[in-house]
């Protein structure tokens, strides 16, 4: 598949830049934009909840499901989905009483080891491994478009639906619990949405892409705004710009899209942190030391920080 695409691209570069928006590229732009939208929304909460590891573990563990699907002869998407949700369940349940990072690591290796077993039980490699990992967004077929869009709408809608209770549960879990918002259920709901977003995107853009987009852009967005709504919108915007730049650059240079997404995400993260550090330095430099710990007219606050 990649070889054919390379040939396609090489033969069409002679006709000018207009081709970047035609033919198979339309699908790439469409899918890329949808993925960026979902990644921005889900990523906002992923970063808020400190669930970067889970956002990596669920898509990577779902690989095993693809192998299992091959083994029993069903659609890989079903296998991916089943294991993504199993991963979400494992992380949620194990993480309830144990350390969350341990729960995530053990769930991930359990899934991967099961995948290893599936592979050894069948004679074939799981299909399109390269694309599951690094994605083949430029090779998205029109038939993949409809289910991807449908699942994307579902994921985005779920994230919007859970916005308020998930916000409170993520920020003040005790208070949320007292208000009748159970922390455990919110965790499961959140991880389930991550699983849903994963299932939908891994077949088209690969785990690397969805993971990077769920981490980098939202992390950068927090540096640029204090307001939660704006941070969520900015996450989506930065994710969109990242994907568009990656597709455009990949079309131009023939380097993989995943390379650009990974590095651009890291770059925006770095820019965000740099800006944040600069802003902190700038605001504290202009304020006299005695009042630096104070807010408003409070005077010296012995308990600053």
């Amino acid at each position: 598949m990649p070889g054919q695409l390379l040939a396609l691209r090489r033969s069409s570069t002679g006709s000018g830049d207009a081709d970047v928006f035609t033919g198979f590229m339309v699908n790439a732009w469409t899918v890329g934009s949808i993925v960026a939208l979902v990644a921005g929304l889900v990523g906002f909460f992923t970063v808020l909840r400190g669930s970067a590891f889970a956002a990596h573990a669920i898509p990577n563990g779902s690989f095993a499901g693809a192998a299992g699907a091959v083994l029993i002869g069903v659609n890989t998407l079903i296998g991916l989905g089943a294991f993504a949700f199993l991963g979400a369940l494992g992380i949620g349940v194990l993480g309830r009483r144990g350390r969350p990072d341990v729960a995530t690591a053990l769930t991930l290796v359990a899934m991967l080891a099961t995948g290893a077993l599936f592979l050894s039980l069948s004679n074939e490699y799981a299909p399109e491994v390269y694309s599951l990992l690094f994605g083949e967004i430029l090779g998205v077929s029109t038939s993949q478009l409809a289910p991807t869009i449908a699942l994307a709408i579902l994921s985005a809608a779920a994230m919007i639906l859970f916005y308020r209770p998930l916000m409170l549960s993520s920020l003040l879990p005790d208070v949320a619990e007292a208000r009748g918002i159970p922390a455990f259920r919110m965790q499961l709901a959140f991880l389930a949405v991550v699983a849903l977003a994963t299932t939908m995107t891994v077949p088209v853009v690969g785990t690397l892409l969805i993971f990077s987009l769920m981490i980098g852009p939202p992390a950068a967005a927090r540096s640029f705004t204090d307001k939660p709504h704006h941070a969520m919108a900015l996450s989506v915007l930065i994710a969109l710009l990242t994907v568009w730049a990656a597709i455009a650059l990949s079309y131009q240079t023939n380097y993989p899209v995943g390379f650009y997404v990974g590095t651009i995400s890291a770059a925006v993260y770095a820019i965000g942190r740099g800006y944040g550090a600069w802003k902190r330095h700038a605001t504290s430099v202009g304020v006299p030391p005695a009042a630096r710990g104070a807010r408003g007219k409070r005077g010296l606050d012995w308990n600053a920080g």
Binding site: L48, Y163, L171, G180, I181, P228, A304
Partner: protein
């Protein structure tokens, strides 16, 4: 043992009725009973480990008592009770979190509802009103991760208060505050109780900062509680009966000191300069 006389059942905002809780084989609360009426300021006093947090969990419906029950305005406690607001001691949010003070307060209005809140003038006005009530205007647009301990307390109070509860539960708000911030918080709470007729139940291991504001006290020791007015409860015979061994109640310059004998557990002292002394001060 309830010492605060007869308050008519219907007026009781909160009624804790012979609540007993055992955790991990240890009896934490034993037949704890007290009532709180509207607008009252009550201090829940006890050393660390005395069961204050457990009692709060029972009142908030997070822990089922082994025996006894909790009634809120005459009705048994349900899973989500909007009449009770909870204010934790502090929160752990880093300065990267994109959330301002006013956003956290606004979240208190209806966080339990699904979806995103539609901004409206009414919401904005309500948030402004709360920010004024807790004197948080000065840092309303600051990120919550940058706030000091005292500022955090006030934001959490505003967050709970904006939902218009009838009872506010505060979990050791003074524990991490310096004396001055603590005093400000207590004054604020007393004002809220009086002006908005919101009952306050505040837990602490040192009753002294609360003496001026408290109407009633619930004193927890050895798993049991004595409740009533401060003058009724904080007396040598009452507390000795509660502890099960002799304690002396001393009043020194308006401060109250509860002094145990040589035997007995070392408990937290409110004054950190008193580290190891012969006399355990449990004020």
């Amino acid at each position: 043992m309830i010492l605060n006389g007869a308050v008519a059942r219907e007026e009781q905002l909160l009624s804790v009725d012979r609540v007993s809780v055992s955790l991990a084989g240890r009896e934490v609360l034993r037949e704890v009973s007290f009532v709180i009426g509207p607008g009252e300021f009550t201090g829940l006093i006890g050393a660390n480990g005395a069961g204050k947090t457990t009692l709060f969990r029972v009142i908030l419906g997070l822990q089922a008592p082994d025996h006894g029950r909790v009634l809120v305005a005459g009705q048994p406690r349900s899973r989500r009770n909007p009449q009770i607001g909870y204010v934790p001691q502090k929160f752990l949010l880093d300065p990267d979190t994109p959330l301002r003070t006013r956003d956290l307060v606004a979240l208190g209005i209806d966080a339990h509802r699904f979806g995103v809140a539609m901004p409206s003038r009414a919401r904005r006005a309500r948030v402004e009103e709360m920010l004024d009530a807790v004197d948080a205007r000065g840092f309303a647009d600051q990120r919550v991760g940058n706030l000091s301990g005292g500022e955090q307390q006030r934001v959490l109070i505003a967050h709970a208060l904006i939902a218009r509860p009838r009872l506010l539960l505060l979990d050791e708000p003074l524990a991490n505050l310096d004396l001055r911030s603590g005093h400000e918080v207590v004054t604020l709470l007393a004002r809220i109780a009086a002006e908005q007729q919101v009952a306050i139940l505040i837990s602490a291991h040192d009753m002294n900062p609360l003496l001026a504001a408290m109407d009633h006290i619930v004193y927890l020791a050895a798993g049991r509680a004595a409740s009533g007015t401060t003058d009724e409860v904080v007396r040598t015979p009452v507390l000795s009966a509660l502890y099960g061994h002799h304690v002396d109640v001393l009043r020194v310059h308006g401060r109250v000191l509860v002094v145990a004998g040589a035997a007995g557990e070392l408990a937290e002292t409110s004054d950190p300069s008193h580290t190891q002394t012969q006399v355990e001060i449990i004020s």
